[in-house]
C-alpha cells in the first residue's frame, strides 16, 4: 500500500471505483462543503475537491478536503501547477498528508484568463508531469526534489488527469504513458461524450499495456440541457460533444432526464470496457444528482474500503 | 624534424627574440615553424585551430613582456585568445597544454629555444596530434 487510501484499497481489491466532485465555495463558510459531503456520503468512494477551478478564487482544496474528512467522506485533493511553485507544492503535500489527506490529483490547472483573476501572474514552475515526478519521489524515497531527505515522506495516492479528446490525438496515449512513468497511480479522464474516440484511445492504451500499470477512471458529466451540451462543444477546449448527443438532447421532451439517461448508459457501457477501473462523475453545478446516477447505474451500495 | 610546432610571434619581441637566438646560434628543434604577426594581438582563435586541424602537435604565441607591448595591450588580448583555444582543446580532448602564450623581450634570445623545449616536452607528454598522424598515413 502506498497510501492506504480508501480508493487505493478498492482498486487493489479489483473493485469498480466511483468518484464524484465537490466544488469548494466562494466563501469562508465551511457549511456548504459540510452539507454537500453529508448529502453525498455513501454515493461515491471519494470526492475530488477542486483547486480554484477555472481560476476562480475559492476556498482552498486542502481546507475543503479536511472538512470532508471531518464528515467521514474521503477527499481527493486537487493541486494545480498554476498557483504554486515547487516549494509551495511540496510543502502543501506534506501538510495535506499530515492532516490525513490520502489522495492527491496533480493537474496543470486552467489558465488564469478564464477566471476572475485574469491579470494575475501564473507560476507553472512545474508542469503536472514534473509534479508527479516530484511527489512520487517524496513518497517513495522520502526526498524532496534535489537530495534533501525528509524525516517522513507523505502517504498519498497520486492521481492525474488524461484527456483523450485533446489534440494531437496520436500523442494523447504517449502523454498518459509519461504520467504513468512519472508516478501516477490513477487517472481521471476528461468527460466523455465521444465514446467512439474514447474506445480508440483505450484500445491504444491497452495495446501499450498502460491499463495494467494505472487505474483508469472514465470521466463523465451529466448534461443538464442542450445549451450545456452546446457550450461544452463550442466553448470548452479539449472537449468533443458529438452531434448525435446534441440532437438527442434537443429532441428530448425532458432534457434533464435525457442527460441523466445518457450518463447512465455511458456507465453501463464503461463497466464492460476492458481496462476501465472506475468512473469519475462530475455533475457540474448539479452535484445533488450524483446519487440518482449512481443508483440507476446499479453501482450501489458502495463497498466498504 | 621533431614535433610540428607553430609559433605565432609578434614582430617586435617574439620574432626578434627568435632572430637573436638564430644569430647567437642557439639551436632548437627544426619542427618549429614561425608565423610572423605584427602584434600577438593579431592572433585569431581560428588561426590556431587551423594549425591543429592541419596536424600541428603544438602551437605557441609569443608576445612582448606584459605591460611592455608595443601596441599597449595586444599581448593581453593574445593571452585571452590562447585561453579560448585551451578551452576548446580540452573540450576536443586534445589537451589544453598543446597551446601556450609566452611573453619575451626582444633581447632575450635565450628564451626562444627554451620555449621550443617546453613545447616539445609537452608534445612528448601528450603524444603527437592524431590529426597529423592521420594526415601522414593518408598521404
Amino acid at each position: 500500500m502506498k497510501s492506504g487510501s480508501g480508493i487505493e484499497r478498492l482498486f487493489e481489491r479489483g473493485r469498480f471505483v466511483v468518484t464524484g466532485e465537490i466544488g469548494p465555495p466562494m466563501s469562508s463558510d465551511h457549511a456548504p462543503v459540510r452539507e454537500n459531503a453529508r448529502f453525498l456520503k455513501g454515493y461515491a468512494d471519494a470526492f475530488n475537491l477542486t483547486d480554484n477551478q477555472t481560476a476562480i478564487v475559492r476556498m482552498s482544496s486542502l481546507a475543503s478536503s479536511v472538512i470532508c474528512m471531518e464528515e467521514g467522506v474521503e477527499p481527493i485533493m486537487q493541486m494545480t501547477c498554476r498557483d504554486r511553485n515547487r516549494i509551495a507544492m511540496q510543502s502543501d503535500l506534506l501538510g495535506a498528508s499530515a492532516l490525513g489527506v490520502r489522495n492527491l490529483l496533480c493537474i496543470s490547472g486552467d489558465h488564469q484568463v478564464f477566471g476572475n483573476q485574469p491579470e494575475s501572474k501564473n507560476v507553472y514552475d512545474l508542469d503536472s508531469i514534473q509534479q508527479l515526478m516530484v511527489f512520487s519521489r517524496m513518497r517513495d524515497e522520502a526526498k524532496v526534489w534535489g537530495e534533501a531527505e525528509l524525516v517522513e515522506g507523505p502517504k498519498v495516492f497520486l492521481g492525474a488527469a488524461a484527456n483523450p479528446f485533446a489534440d494531437p490525438f496520436e500523442f494523447r496515449v504517449t502523454r498518459l504513458a509519461k504520467k504513468v512513468k512519472a508516478g501516477a497511480d490513477f487517472i481521471q479522464t476528461q468527460a466523455i461524450f465521444d465514446m467512439a474516440r474514447f474506445e480508440r484511445w483505450m484500445a491504444e492504451v491497452r495495446s501499450r499495456g498502460l491499463d495494467q500499470e494505472v487505474h483508469i477512471m472514465a470521466g463523465l458529466v451529466p448534461l443538464k440541457s442542450v445549451g450545456a451540451a452546446r457550450y461544452m462543444k463550442n466553448k470548452v477546449s479539449g472537449m468533443i460533444v458529438p452531434d448525435e448527443i446534441i440532437a438527442r438532447m434537443k429532441a428530448a421532451e425532458n432534457p434533464k432526464e435525457e442527460g441523466l439517461s445518457i450518463c447512465v448508459e455511458q456507465i453501463e457501457h464503461l463497466l464492460t470496457m476492458e481496462g476501465i477501473h472506475g468512473v469519475h462523475i462530475m455533475p457540474v453545478a448539479w452535484e445533488r444528482k450524483l446519487p440518482e446516477i449512481v443508483e440507476r447505474a446499479g453501482l450501489l451500495p458502495r463497498p466498504t474500503p | 624534424m621533431g614535433p610540428r610546432i607553430v609559433g605565432f610571434c609578434c614582430s617586435y619581441c617574439g620574432y626578434a627574440s627568435a632572430d637573436l637566438a638564430g644569430r647567437q646560434g642557439r639551436t632548437y628543434s627544426p619542427g618549429v615553424m614561425i608565423v610572423r604577426l605584427p602584434c600577438s594581438g593579431r592572433i585569431d582563435v581560428l588561426h590556431i585551430l587551423q594549425a591543429f586541424r592541419k596536424g600541428a602537435d603544438a602551437v605557441f604565441v609569443v608576445g612582448c613582456l606584459e605591460d611592455n607591448c608595443n601596441f599597449v595591450n595586444g599581448n593581453f588580448e593574445a593571452k585571452k585568445r590562447v585561453q579560448e583555444v585551451k578551452d576548446i582543446l580540452d573540450a576536443l580532448g586534445l589537451g589544453a597544454g598543446r597551446v601556450e602564450m609566452f611573453n619575451v623581450a626582444s633581447n632575450q634570445g635565450w628564451r626562444f629555444p627554451r620555449i621550443v623545449e617546453e613545447m616539445t616536452a609537452r608534445v612528448e607528454k601528450l603524444g603527437p596530434n592524431p590529426l597529423g598522424v592521420i594526415a601522414d598515413d593518408n598521404r
Binding site: - | A16, R26, M33, P38, D44, K54
Partner: protein
C-alpha cells in the same frame, strides 16, 4: 574594401537579394594568383653551405605561380636589388618573395625595391631562412625547413593584395606645444633650436612660468630660456589660452585655440602636451614640527638644521609605490643636513630606497655620512607634543620603534590638474590620478596613442628636473622629425568591410589607439592615420568584417597550411 574578389569570403547572393550569406567554404581558400618571383639569398656563407640552397630552388621553382626563381649572392645589396627590379619588369611579375635573413633587417629595402619596380611596396614577402634555418639547424634539417618556409611565403605571397600606402601630406610643419611649465619651455626651446615654428599655448601669462631649481640645473637657466623663446620669431605664444578642439592626422592637424579674446584655428603638423604636475597639499602636516621637504629646504636656506630629523617617504594611503623623485629628494636633503652639521641625526623611513641611476651614489654617500634608514611597510604614526614622536615598525629588526625627534619631514606628492579636459580634446588617455599614459612607457615614453601627439613633463610621470629636460627635448625632436619626414603610412592597417560590419562597437571598444569610429553610413571605419596595425580588432570582430592588410585571414591561413599540412 579594396581586396580583390575572391581573396575573402565568397558572397553567394546577387545584389538584388536582400540577404548576404556565405557559402560553406573555409574562408580565404582561393586559387592563388599572380606572377611570383622568388629570390633566394646565399648570404655569403651564412646560408649557402649551411643549407642546400639549390635544392630549395628546385623545390620552389615548380610551385604554381612562381615564374622566376633565382639564387643570388646578396639580394639586399644595391646591385642585386637593381637586378631584381629588372627581373620583375622583364617577367612582368606582380609580387615577389625574398628568402634570406630576417624581414626585420631587410623588409624596408625590399619595399623600396617593390616600389622601384612599379609595384605596391607591400607586394613582397620575406622568408627567413637564415636566422630560422641555416644558423640554427643542421644542413638537412635546415634545407627541408627552408623549403617549407619559402613555400609558405609563396603561398602567402600569392594572396597578397596592394595595401594602402599613403605619402605624407605634411600641410604644416609647425608644432603646437600645450603646456604649463618647465617641459613646455624646454620643448619649445628645442624645437626653435631645430628651426621649427612653434605655437606655445599656455593657460596663463608666460611671465607666470616660474621654476624650482635643484638637481643641478643652473639657477636662471630656465628663465633665460623662457625669455629667449618668448622673444623668438619662430614662436607664437598664446597666453591665457586653451586648446578646445584637436583634429586631423599627423602632418595636418587643426587645433582650435581659445583665449579671452576669442577662438582661433591653428594648423600644425604635430603637437606636444607638456604638462606639469603640482604638489598635492599634505593634510597631515602639523605646524612647525612636521614639514615638507620643500619647507626643510627653506629652513636649511636660512642656515638652520635641527638636531634630530626623521624623514618619512611613505604616503599614508599608498604604502607601496613612492614617486620617482621622493627618495632622491630625501637623500639629497639628508646629505645636505649632514654637510651643514655632521653631528645631527637624520633618519629616513622608507619601504625600499629607490635611488635611480646615479642617485645610487647619493644613497652610498648618505650611508657613509651616518644617515640611518628604517625599512617599514606601513605608514608610521606621528604624535606631536613638545617634541614629536614617530612610531614605526622596523621590518629588519621586526620591532616597533618609538623615535623622539625635533622635526618630521614628510615627502610630498604631485598630481597633474585639469588633464581630463586635455585628454578629451586630444584623445590621449589619463590614468585615475590624471597622469597622461604614454603608448609604451619603456619603449616609447614620449609617444601618446595618437600618432603625431607627443607627451612630456611631470604630468606623465614624476621625474627630476634634469629628466624633464631630457624628455622634453626628446619629445620635441620626435615632433620635429615627424613634421620634417616624408610621412608615409599604410601597409599593415585595418580596413572594415561595411557590408559585413554589424556596427557592434567591439573594434571601437578594443582598439588601443582609437582608430575605429562609426562613419556616416553607420558602419565602422578605421582612421588610417591612427591605425598602428596591431590587428587586435581583427581577432575580435564578431562579424569578421575587419581585415589587416599584409596579415589577412586568408594569407595567414595559406601560410599556416603550407607550414603544417605537409608530410614530413
Amino acid at each position: 574594401m579594396t581586396l580583390p574578389p575572391g581573396s575573402e569570403p565568397v558572397t553567394m547572393s546577387s545584389s538584388s537579394r536582400p540577404a548576404r550569406t556565405r557559402r560553406p567554404v573555409v574562408r580565404g581558400e582561393r586559387e592563388p594568383t599572380g606572377r611570383i618571383g622568388v629570390f633566394l639569398c646565399r648570404c655569403g656563407g651564412s646560408v649557402d653551405g649551411r643549407l642546400d640552397i639549390e635544392s630549395v630552388r628546385e623545390k620552389v621553382s615548380s610551385m604554381d605561380g612562381v615564374e622566376e626563381c633565382m639564387v643570388m649572392d646578396f639580394p639586399c645589396s644595391m646591385e642585386s636589388r637593381e637586378t631584381i627590379v629588372n627581373v620583375i619588369r622583364e617577367n612582368d611579375l606582380d609580387r615577389f618573395v625574398v628568402a634570406g635573413c630576417s624581414p626585420k633587417a631587410v623588409e624596408a629595402r625590399f619595399k623600396s625595391t617593390a616600389q622601384e619596380s612599379g609595384l605596391n611596396p607591400y607586394m613582397v614577402e620575406i622568408a627567413n631562412i637564415r636566422e630560422q634555418c641555416s644558423l640554427v639547424h643542421n644542413l638537412s634539417e635546415a634545407t627541408s625547413k627552408a623549403g617549407l618556409l619559402v613555400e609558405a611565403a609563396v603561398a602567402k605571397c600569392s594572396l597578397l593584395v596592394p595595401a594602402p600606402h599613403h605619402r605624407g601630406r605634411v600641410e604644416s610643419e609647425e608644432v603646437l606645444v600645450y603646456g604649463n611649465g618647465m617641459s613646455a619651455v624646454v620643448a619649445t626651446d628645442e624645437l626653435v633650436s631645430e628651426g621649427a615654428k612653434v605655437h606655445l599655448v599656455l593657460p596663463f601669462s608666460p611671465h607666470r612660468l616660474v621654476f624650482n631649481y635643484h638637481d643641478g640645473i643652473r639657477p636662471g637657466h630656465l628663465e633665460d630660456m623662457r625669455d629667449r623663446i618668448t622673444d623668438s620669431d619662430l614662436v607664437r605664444v598664446h597666453g591665457h589660452s586653451s586648446v578646445e578642439r584637436f583634429e586631423g592626422e599627423p602632418g595636418a592637424f587643426t587645433a582650435l585655440v581659445r583665449s579671452s579674446e576669442g577662438a582661433e584655428e591653428i594648423r600644425c603638423g604635430a603637437a606636444i602636451i607638456a604638462w606639469e604636475a603640482s604638489e598635492v597639499p599634505s593634510p597631515s602636516l602639523n605646524g612647525s614640527l612636521v614639514v615638507t621637504q620643500a619647507e626643510l629646504e627653506s629652513i636649511m636656506d636660512q642656515g638652520r638644521v635641527p638636531d634630530r630629523t626623521v624623514m618619512i617617504t611613505l604616503r599614508e594611503e599608498d604604502t607601496y609605490c613612492p614617486e620617482r623623485i621622493t627618495h632622491i629628494e630625501a637623500l639629497r636633503n639628508a646629505i645636505r643636513m649632514k654637510e651643514m652639521d655632521p653631528r645631527v641625526q637624520v633618519t629616513i623611513v622608507a619601504r625600499d630606497v629607490l635611488a635611480f641611476g646615479l642617485s645610487e651614489l647619493d644613497y652610498r654617500e648618505a650611508m657613509s655620512r651616518g644617515v640611518s634608514f628604517i625599512r617599514t611597510e606601513a605608514s608610521p604614526l606621528i604624535t606631536v607634543g613638545d617634541t614629536v614622536k614617530v612610531r614605526v615598525k622596523d621590518l629588519n629588526l621586526g620591532e616597533e620603534l618609538s623615535i623622539e625627534t625635533d622635526l618630521v619631514v614628510m615627502s610630498s606628492w604631485t598630481q597633474p590638474y585639469d588633464t581630463g579636459h586635455v585628454a578629451q580634446v586630444f584623445g590621449t588617455p589619463v590614468d585615475r590620478e590624471g597622469f597622461f599614459i604614454p603608448t609604451q612607457v619603456k619603449l616609447k615614453p614620449t609617444a601618446s596613442i595618437v600618432e603625431g601627439v607627443f607627451l612630456c613633463g611631470t604630468g606623465v610621470e614624476s621625474k627630476t628636473p634634469s629628466e624633464v629636460v631630457l624628455e622634453a627635448r626628446s619629445a620635441a625632436s620626435r615632433a620635429k622629425a615627424m613634421v620634417s619626414s616624408k610621412m608615409e603610412w599604410g601597409g599593415a592597417v585595418a580596413e572594415v568591410d561595411p557590408e559585413s560590419c554589424s556596427a557592434c562597437l567591439t573594434c571601437i571598444r578594443s582598439c588601443p589607439f582609437n582608430a575605429p569610429f562609426i562613419g556616416e553610413t553607420g558602419k565602422a571605419e578605421i582612421e588610417i592615420g591612427l591605425c598602428q596595425g596591431c590587428g587586435i580588432c581583427v581577432g575580435l570582430c564578431p562579424s569578421r568584417a575587419i581585415q589587416l592588410y599584409c596579415y589577412t585571414d586568408g594569407q595567414l591561413g595559406a601560410q599556416i597550411g603550407a607550414l603544417v599540412g605537409r608530410v614530413r
